[in-house]
Every structure is written in structure tokens, then in C-alpha cells.
Symmetry: C2
Subunit: 600 residues, 2 copies
């Protein structure tokens, strides 16, 4: 009997339900029809009274309805996302009612090519109609409705599961309050189509494939295992694979000079291929990869922007920096389109070495993000309990160092902003300014931040936060699409300053900028009398480790605005001690300064 850990959902049963009857078949995207349709699903946790705690999980290519726990006491392996789903886990079954169904075309209980074709009384094989991601999602929705669920908290899924998540949000925008597409894409690129095609070639070219009618004899095992091996290579990063296997030999010390698998990575692939053949159906593999290849939101809806205009839910996109199958760039395309549509979009590109499989292998990191986001969506009023690890503590202390400065800065900035405005905060840190502005001025805002820990803090506070290069994010915004674009205490550290400012002035009706004044009298005096690069409380780094790549003064910035044809609406030079603006010789006496500028 398998040892079941105390945070497991325990023993669960896969249920099967008939969604579509034979006499009223489902119309598919291809124009064909299909019926009857059975759906296999599992649930974990309990639905609450308000019925507002339902989470739908969409599984990936080789997954199934069995997300968590064990199907029997003898079941050796738990469900495929057991690390993420359970009591107290990232998707907490003490709080949420979680449901997952095997998708249409699968081979784990839901109707697929290995099901019996009622017309022939034999398995469908290649007579099964082609299905698409949209068809899969349609069937999932029918299942939920059949279970009496008409509105859910969130749809979550990684990889091909993420495609279903996106399809859900576009096609049934009123059905959910949030979506979390992870390590996914709106359409495969040429390379991914190529890998899929080679896998299908291996299956269809296997002499035992027999046009898909192999159920009572040997099947295309070799072809299916080749396809799976290719898949597994694409799921890991080169680095991750090298760290895991290197060039290690499996058994011998020396080369055997023969063709049997010798390297550890070879026997790993042999094992993965073999294990897959034992649990998966080759025809399903063909249909599912084809559904992935066909998935193309741009094509289906005209453009990503048009497609995502329909979305009403909050969106949290997660990608992984080492994922080369569904790349961060593909996730950013989703983020761009939602951002351009003025949607409530958050994004984190998680620093993991595990490639595409990171969505299965980084439960702690992803768990923190997902649980924070779900909590903020589910109970927006309840403050999130802060989980502070040592790194974060250190960073917090470092920030406290700047706290006085920051506080002055933020209070003044807040005083400049009209209530109910739309704000973009560039380099928003832990979201302190945005939070105040939302609470005090009812603004609607987005933050941009690069540091993963700070992004998590924003997520925990329910702030829409995008982990993104400033310039790249600005480029995707429409002209004058924000009332204020804020760049606070960051101008001296950014590169390509002119490009960024030009974009800020284009995107914001007003631009608010604050920075330490390099021409403050203390700096001048230091350079003049000591002949050293200035170092003050505002500029407290040594020259050789300063993050400040620019030294600029009020006069410098005045001229810069002039060059960009920007109108300076306000210029508020301040010292640390006095919140009131410095009136006398500000370029000499101000320690920092806040500008409000605009450009028609």
C-alpha cells in the first residue's frame, strides 16, 4: 500500500458521466458531429454555500482527470499535480472545490478514438472526427453545467491546459472570475509543429499502426515511444537535462562500443517511451497533437487583440525563463494583447532551470504565486498573510533604508493625482504607491516590476503587476491610454532613457517623474572640494557599485524635456526634511525633485 502524505486529498474516485447522448450529437468545429460523449472527471474539496469557490483545472497532452491523491490504496503514484493540489497546497482544497476532467479525444475515460464507435461496434481509430481545443472546452462547460455549476472562480492549466484556459476566457467570458494560463501559447510556432509532426510521422509510419485499427493486436508501440521521447526532450531545458544526466553512463564505466543504450539520458528516454506506451493510446496522441497544432487564436478571432477584447476575468499569465517549447515570448504576446485591451492582467516569468516541465516541477514557487492570486480574487478585502522568507526579509530591510525618502516621494506624488485616474507605475517595487492610490484615490492601475520577489508581493496584494521591461511594455500601449505614467526614483537607473521617456510621453496624458538631484549643493561641494564622485543619502553608492547609470540634475532634466518637446507642468524640488517645495535656487538646494510633464 502506498504511503499517502498527510497533505494529500487521499483516495479519490474518477467518475464518468454521459454529457452528450447518441441521438443528439455534438457539432464539432470541423463540421463533423460526435455522440455519445462520456466525460471522466475528479473533484477535490467541497463546494461552499455561495458556490463561489470552484476551480477548474485543464490538463496537458498526456495528463488526465486524476490531478491529485490516489485512485486506490494500492495506487503507487499520486495524480499528476498532487504537489499543487491538496489541503494547504498552492491550490488549497480546504478552501476551494477543484474539478478536472479528461479532455475530449483523450484516452483516460472521456470519449476518444479508442472508444467504441456505435456505428461499427469497434473502436473509432481514425474514424474518430478531428477535435479542437474549442471542442474540448465546450465539453468541459457542458460537464460543469450538468453538475449545476454556472460560474467558477478560476480556470487554471499549464501547457496545452493553458490553451484550454485561454479558450475558456475568450469564449465564455462571464463564466469565470479569473484565469491562470501557465507555460502556454496562443498558437504553436513552426518548431513545435515540426516536433509534433515528427512524432505523428513515427506513429503513422509504424507498420503496426494499421490505419489506427490495432486494438486487438500489437500497436504502434515503437512509433508512440519515439514520439514521447521527442516530447520529453522538448519538456526539459538543455541545462536542466545536462544537470540531470550529463554524459553519465548508465551501468558500465567504459564505452561498450555497441548500439544498446549506454548513456543515462538514453535509458531515461527508453523508460519514458516504454512507460508512455503502457498508459497512452497512439490514436489519442495523433488527435491531441493535431488539436494543438490547429489551435491558433489569431486565426480564429482575427487577431490576439480582438480575441482578448472579449475577456472579462482577471488574468495571471505565468511562464518560465528556460521554457523553449512554449517560450516566455509567447506568453508575453498574451500579456501584450490583454494589456492593450486594458484588461486586468498580471504576469510573471519565473526564474527556473526546468524548462517547460517547470510547471510540474516548481510547485513551491508556482504555488506561492497561484495561492496569492486566487486569494486576492476570492477574498479581495481580506489581507493576505505575508510569508516572508529570509531573502525577502533582507530586501525589505534594504528598502527600509530608503524608506524616508520613498515616503516623501510617494506622498507628494499621490497629492498630484486626480481621483479615479488610470495609472501606470513603472518600477512599482512592492506596490506601495499603487496600493495607497487605490485605497485613497480609487485609481485603476498597473504596475511594472522586474524582480520576481516584488512581483509576488504585488500579486499577494491583488495588484495587477507585469514583470516586464519598461520599454517593451510601453511600446504596446495606445497613445494617451493612461492618465498618469509614473517613474519614481528609477530614472537614474534605466537605460535607453530617451526611448523610454518618448514612450512615456506618448502613452501617458501626464508623466510623473522623480529622481535625486545630482546638482544638489552637497554633490557640487563634494565634487568641487573633495574631487570625488558625489555620495549622499540620496546617492549613497560608491561609483563602482552604483546602480545609477545616469547622474542628472534639475537643469539636465529641464533641457531633456525641451529636447523631447515635453511641457513641464509642475516641477517640485524637495529636500528630505521639508515636504514643502524648495523655492530658492532649487537646482542648488533640492535633494530630489518631482516633475509632471506632458506632450500633446
Amino acid at each position: 500500500m502506498a504511503k499517502i502524505d498527510e497533505n494529500s486529498v487521499g483516495i479519490v474516485e474518477t467518475k464518468t458521466i454521459c454529457i452528450v447522448q447518441a441521438d443528439s450529437p455534438l457539432s464539432l468545429e470541423s463540421g463533423k458531429t460526435l455522440g455519445p460523449i462520456d466525460v471522466a472527471y475528479e473533484t477535490y474539496g467541497l463546494i461552499n454555500e455561495k458556490k463561489d469557490n470552484v476551480i477548474l483545472i485543464c490538463h496537458a497532452l498526456s495528463g488526465n482527470a486524476h490531478v491529485a491523491g490516489h485512485n486506490s490504496p494500492d495506487d503507487k503514484k499520486p495524480g499528476w499535480w498532487d504537489m499543487m493540489v491538496g489541503p494547504g497546497k498552492g491550490i488549497d482544497t480546504n478552501k476551494y472545490f477543484v474539478i478536472c476532467s479528461n479532455f475530449l479525444g483523450g484516452c483516460s475515460g472521456t470519449t476518444g478514438p479508442s472508444s467504441i464507435n456505435p456505428k461499427t461496434k469497434k473502436p473509432y481509430g481514425l474514424d474518430f472526427p478531428m477535435i479542437t481545443i474549442a471542442d474540448m472546452v465546450k465539453v468541459q462547460k457542458m460537464l460543469l453545467e450538468k453538475l449545476g455549476i454556472n460560474k467558477i472562480l478560476a480556470v487554471i492549466g499549464g501547457s496545452m491546459g493553458g490553451m484550454q484556459v485561454l479558450q475558456w476566457a475568450i469564449e465564455y467570458p462571464d463564466f469565470m472570475r479569473a484565469i491562470i494560463p501557465i507555460a502556454t501559447t496562443t498558437r504553436l510556432n513552426a518548431q513545435s509543429i515540426a516536433f509534433d509532426a515528427v512524432g505523428r510521422n513515427a506513429i503513422i509510419g509504424d507498420p503496426y499502426f494499421n490505419d489506427g485499427q490495432y486494438q486487438d493486436k500489437q500497436g504502434p508501440d515503437k512509433g508512440l515511444s519515439i514520439a514521447r521521447m521527442i516530447g520529453h526532450i522538448t519538456y526539459l531545458s538543455e541545462k536542466g537535462m545536462h544537470e540531470k544526466f550529463g554524459r553519465e553512463l548508465k551501468t558500465a564505466e567504459d564505452y561498450k562500443y555497441e548500439f544498446n543504450s549506454e548513456f543515462a539520458v538514453e535509458t531515461y528516454l527508453d523508460h519514458q517511451g516504454q512507460a508512455f506506451v503502457e498508459r497512452f493510446d497512439a490514436n489519442s496522441y495523433l488527435y491531441i497533437t493535431k488539436a494543438m497544432d490547429y489551435f491558433d487564436i489569431e486565426r480564429s478571432y482575427g487577431s490576439l487583440k480582438k480575441a482578448f477584447a472579449k475577456v472579462k476575468s482577471r488574468v495571471f499569465v505565468i511562464s518560465f525563463i528556460s521554457d523553449w517549447l512554449f517560450t516566455p515570448a509567447q506568453s508575453r504576446a498574451i500579456v501584450d494583447a490583454l494589456f492593450a485591451n486594458d484588461k486586468d492582467i498580471s504576469f510573471c516569468d519565473i526564474d527556473s532551470p526546468y524548462g517547460h516541465d517547470a510547471f510540474l516541477l516548481e510547485p513551491e514557487t508556482i504555488g506561492a504565486f497561484i495561492s496569492g492570486f486566487l486569494h486576492a480574487v476570492h477574498e479581495p478585502q481580506a489581507k493576505q498573510p505575508q510569508k516572508t522568507d529570509s531573502t525577502r526579509k533582507k530586501r525589505r530591510l534594504r528598502r527600509l533604508d530608503d524608506a524616508i525618502r520613498t515616503r516623501v516621494d510617494y506622498e507628494l506624488i499621490e497629492s498630484l493625482i486626480e481621483p479615479d485616474s488610470k495609472i501606470l507605475d513603472l518600477g512599482c517595487g512592492d506596490g506601495q504607491l499603487l496600493t495607497s492610490l487605490i485605497e485613497d484615490k480609487n485609481i485603476k492601475g498597473h504596475g511594472l516590476e522586474l524582480e520576481q520577489d516584488l512581483v509576488l508581493e504585488c500579486i499577494n496584494q491583488g495588484l495587477p503587476i507585469i514583470q516586464y521591461d519598461l520599454y517593451q511594455a510601453l511600446k504596446n500601449c495606445e497613445d494617451k491610454s493612461f492618465d498618469y505614467v509614473i517613474l519614481s526614483q528609477t530614472v537614474q537607473t534605466i537605460k535607453e532613457t530617451e526611448k523610454v521617456f518618448t514612450e512615456m510621453l506618448r502613452v501617458g496624458k501626464k508623466v510623473i517623474v522623480s529622481f535625486p538631484n545630482f546638482a544638489h549643493w552637497r554633490c557640487r561641494a563634494q565634487l568641487l572640494f573633495t574631487g570625488k564622485a558625489p555620495k549622499t543619502k540620496q546617492l549613497h553608492f560608491d561609483w563602482y557599485n552604483s546602480p545609477n547609470v545616469h547622474c542628472l540634475s534639475l537643469k539636465d532634466f529641464d533641457q531633456f524635456c525641451d529636447k523631447l518637446n515635453a511641457k513641464i507642468e509642475k516641477k517640485i524640488p524637495i529636500t528630505k526634511k521639508r515636504l514643502a517645495p524648495v523655492k530658492l535656487a532649487p537646482n542648488f538646494f533640492a535633494e530630489q525633485v518631482i516633475y509632471v510633464a506632458s506632450k500633446d
Copy 2:
């Protein structure tokens, strides 16, 4: 009849020669023996009187001896590197005598598994002994000696050809004056072994493989084409593939919802697979990929450093930034080991989107580098005719702008250096200082530079130049392995200054640093009286587009040396007009400064 361009080598004949007789077979690395061995080869150009113009080209996995020209007037396709080899081309057959042979185990004329086994009078098939890169190189050397060639100018090869090149240089270090390994590695990483293993699995698992005895019947065509398809995906970059094919459909406008190839990239792979089956032998594919997998210089020689200690030739390593099969990091490992061994090593990581195949698809760029390098090796005294394109012209003009400053700087630096020293010039630009030092002081030196155009200029001048991050390069050097490490007019633009300086002081017996003095009176006066970030002839950028990330003065640098426990041996403050050092209040009057520092 195919149209043969005027820069072609024309009609060439593949010759075959018997290298090893049946009665005195060759001992192979595996311990087995093989004989007889025939070798197929081609030559282009003429050998000169001195016999010092011979270039050996080593081909890659699917290549053969037919590098350039056409084998017959009806031959539709020229040789596999026709763009590179011919009159006036990158490898100029007007100057060089070029030879290439099909490697051992191949299927294009040289003895391989499809050759007749004298014992059975049938093709060897799997009775062919396992061969290694070392065996291939051994046979190549026997061929050259049989042709009366005992010393060659250079060995050149890309991909698996590059492995042979490395093997040549290590095993027969006196045989050549230079090597150019391109897009290669000292050993496959786990991911590449995995791809090879899947390809072999597809072949061996093909029911028509018949244990390698398929010559008189249908062979494992499906398996071989699957292997080739996988290979082709790895030869292109994701970006290159997406630009070439995108998601385009081959014929129809709409999805056909069927399993035949629909996307352009699918039909491309089908074609590549099919074409390969027609020209290549499946057994050879098995043996060759296995030879690649086994290749492991670290394993064979104890470590890369030990292996490359044997090298005597000049080395020019070329990689491509988008190559994810044999990555730039793998090339850098070669560079590191040669650099650590104090060899004459140059390196360029070429900016190309074409992935691994760039070595076949970027003939102009690579051609410029290779021809420059070969010329410098072949005729070190003859100045290279400068090919100046417009970009380079512009850059040259931009540099002329700084010329006066630079000249002063360089002349002073040169005066500080002892003859016959060993020098490392960090950020060496077009190599002006290094060239002078070599001519005037007979120094031995290496330059580091990041810009590809400047790297090419150094290559053209025959300078050992490495395109490399300063810190990464320094990290690989031994303590006190250079007499002087020079950082001229670059300190204000480098990041991680402290780390870099610490390494410089460790690696160099003396460190020479020059930079513009930020505390020059003009700067002080500007900040004091105008309240603007200083902008002078030495610091002539606006704050928002300055490449100078640090502002530092003599005093700053004095304190920095103090912090690093470095001894300041000389400090020479200078103004532009006066070459003589500034004696009065140098931190106030000096426009720039040169330091000589050291640390025990």
C-alpha cells in the same frame, strides 16, 4: 545542364584511393581492426611550390568529399560548401589547395557499413566495427601522407567536422599551422545525445531495418527519415524556422482536419526526410551519430586543459549565437581551455539567426573571417587589403572623433610597457594598441572585444582576439599569467567594476588603467556653475545616452585601489594638449589619467 557560376571550381572528380590493405588492417580505438579501407576525396586549386598552402576540410554528419563544384555537367546541385570554397571565395582556391575526404564509416565512397565485408562478401551492416572521431582523423592523415603531404596550412570544419578539427590539433599538433573549428563542441551535451538516440531508435526500431541487413530489399526508410527530420529541427533556430515557415499552410487556405501534412514546415520535413533516404545509408547514420556521442575530449585526455596543452597551431573558434545544438557556451569552453594554456586563440560568436546551419548559410560573414584569418596565418607579413563596408566606415569615422584622445593615451601606455612582455588588452577595439606593441615592443598579446566588426578587423591584422565578456575571460586566467593587463578608456563603461578589477589584479603582474577624469576643473565648474551633468571633450555624451555608467575621478580611483589593497605604482594625469604629466593639482587639472597598479 546545370548553370555553373563563374566563381565555381567547375567540374570536379571524386577520386578513391586504398589507404589500408586487407592484410594489414587498421587498429581502431574500440580495439577492433578494419581493412581494407578505401577513401574517397576531392581536391580544388593547386598545391604551390613550398607546399605550404594545403587546407583540409572536414565534413559534417551528412556531408561528403564533394565540397565544391559539380561532379558532372548534369549535376544539379553543387558541393555542400560551394558558397565558401572556390576562386575568390572565403576559402580561395586561387590561393589554396583544398582537400576533403569522406570520413571513415560514411557512405559516399569511403569504407563504411555499406561496403562489402571481405569475410562474408556481403555488406558489413552491423558487423562493421564501431568507429570514432579519432579513427576518422587517423585515416585522413594516412590519406594526406599517401598524397605526399606532411604539413598543412589549416584544418577547417563545422559541426561534427569541427570535432575532427579539434582531434587533429590535439593528436597531430605539428601537422598544421592553424585550425578553424566552427559551431562545434568537445563533447555532446545530454540533449544532443538524446536527439541522436531517438534518431537511432527510429532506425533500429523500423521493422525493415532487419539487423542492418537490408541492402537488397526495402530498408528502414521511415526510421531514417524520422531521424533526419529530428536533425533538421535541431539545425535551425526557433526564430529562423518561424521566419521561414511560420504557421503557413502548404496548399489549402483552410484546415483540412486530416492527418496529411498541412503546414509548410511539415512538408519541408517530409521532403528533407525523403531526400535523405535517397542519398544516405541508415547504417552509416547509426555509426556516425554514435561516433559523435562517444566523442569526449575531457574523457579522452583527462581534462580540456590537458587536451589542449598539446596544441601548437593557431586556433580560430567560430560559433553562432542562435545555435542551440552546439552552443556558443560549448565553443567558449574550447576557447577557455586554449586561453588557459596560453595558446594563440581567437574567437568570434557570430550574430546570425540561422542556428547551427549558419555555418552553411552565412558564407559571406564566415568567409570574411576565415579568409582574413587564413591570410594572416599564410602570409603574416603581408598587410591585409581592408574591405571596408559602409557600417565599418561609419564606425571608423566615429572612432576618428576620439582619435586624438586615443593616440595620446596609447603612446603613453606604450611607454610604460617593457619589451617582450605578455599583454592582455581588455576592450581592444580594432587592435591599434596591440599592433603597435607587437611592432615596437615585440610583445605577445591577446585582445578582448565584444563588437563583431572590430573582432574582424583584429582577425584581419592577425591579432589573437577573443569576443568575450571581460569578467568571464579573466576568470579563466591563471594568477599573474600576464605581465600587463590593460583597460584603456573603458573603466567608466564597465559593469561589476569591483569584480573585474579584482580579477585584473589577480591575473596581471601589473594593471594599466586609463580613464577620463570626472573631477577635471571643467567638469567641476560645469556642475558648480551650470548645475548640469558634466559634458566635455572627454565626456562628450548627454546624460541620457551616455555609455559611461560610472563617473569617477583620480581621488575616487585612489580610494578604490586602497579598498582592493592594490599598490599604485604610477599615476600619470594628462591633459589632451600636453603629453607630459600634469604635476599641479592633478585631480583638478587632468583631463584623463593613466594608472599602473599591482597587487601581490
